[in-house]
């Protein structure tokens, strides 16, 4: 009866106080796309399109599996896409088409530039 209680009391982000591994003092230089993703988050917040709270809830709404498996900025961009769909600012098909376009553009540029 109560074995699922923690799922309601603690959403995936709410991990304060849980047992966890020793601290590993990890860090990494952000990749260019990660830095762009961070700047995008800030600009979305400035324009009140997606604020910090919405971003956090958007990450939470990805669910435990994605929160566990995606990297930090992967979670952000996935959450932004979902929030923009929910707000009817973008549609999934528009994003899919644009992603194909970006990938194709890179393939073309990449072939041109490779030695």
């Amino acid at each position: 009866m109560t074995e699922t209680k923690h799922l309601l009391n603690h959403l995936p982000n709410d991990i304060g106080g849980l047992p966890a591994d020793p601290i590993q003092r990890t860090d990494h230089e952000l990749e260019p796309w990660e830095k762009r993703c961070h700047a995008l988050a800030d600009v979305l917040d400035f324009h009140k399109i997606i604020n910090t709270e919405e971003k956090r809830r958007g990450v939470e709404a990805l669910g435990a599996e994605m929160v566990g498996k995606l990297s930090y900025y992967e979670r952000w961009i996935a959450a932004f896409a979902n929030i923009l769909f929910q707000k009817s600012i973008l549609t999934p098909s528009e994003l899919a088409r644009k992603m194909d376009e970006v990938a194709a553009r890179w393939e073309n540029d990449g072939t041109e530039r490779s030695p």
């Binding site: 601290i23 590993q24 910090t52 498996k69 970006v102």
Partner: protein, 210 residues
């Protein structure tokens, strides 16, 4: 889809390598929003410059000023944001800043258990460990053990206070000025103050530097 553990350093990616799925998604989302004129390409570029301009050196400047100027220290403890703004540190977001002073009886530690809230305008972006589960989960329940893992041993007669950041309220630790620094200039003092000391996981010592 990438399956690696979150927060671990990614493999070095050369410029000629195909961009990953999420890299492409970021570019696509950004370009669509720019096409809709919901945001400007120049805004993203400018914000990247802002992010690059924020490093722990700003926080160190604030701490050193507080150590040498008691009136500034009082203003800093009363309102972190306006005191930092006095030193020309602009806040590019809506966050408030509360500065927590370490004393002979209190040691402060900051965390964001829900995600990664951090005093970015004065320290830049947080290190990965600050955003990962072990620190976020344990800092609030066993801070002394966590501190010990950073090599910081707080005697039992000193209270450890942990402050959990939110989207709107961020914290910065004002570490104790180390002994033996009476003849240091403000610049020399600032050079001793590290990011980790302003998170509260280590003290400032004469041997430390940025």
């Amino acid at each position: 889809m990438s399956q690696h553990d979150h927060g671990h350093p990614h493999a070095e990616i050369g410029h000629s390598e195909r961009p990953g799925y999420y890299d492409i998604m970021e570019t696509a989302v950004r370009e669509l929003l720019i096409e809709r004129r919901l945001l400007g390409a120049d805004e993203i570029r400018r914000q990247i410059e802002v992010l690059d301009s924020r490093t722990p050196a700003l926080g160190a400047k604030v701490v050193a000023r507080a150590w040498v100027d008691p009136a500034f220290r009082a203003r800093l403890l009363a309102n972190g944001r306006t005191a930092c703004e006095e030193l020309g540190i602009t806040f590019y977001d809506d966050t408030q800043l509360i500065v927590l002073e370490n004393t002979d009886t209190v040691h402060n530690l900051i965390v964001c258990t829900l995600c990664s809230c951090y005093p970015r305008p004065v320290l830049g972006l947080p290190p990965d460990w600050y955003k990962l589960k072990p620190y976020r989960a344990r800092a609030v329940s066993e801070p002394r053990v966590v501190l010990a893992e950073f090599g910081t041993h707080i005697p039992d007669n000193i209270e450890v206070r942990v402050s959990d950041s939110t989207a709107f309220v961020r914290y910065l630790v004002l570490p104790k000025r180390p002994d033996g620094t009476d003849d240091y200039s403000e610049e020399q003092l600032a050079a001793l103050v590290t990011r980790d000391a302003m998170i509260g996981v280590i003290p400032v010592s004469i041997g430390s530097s940025q």
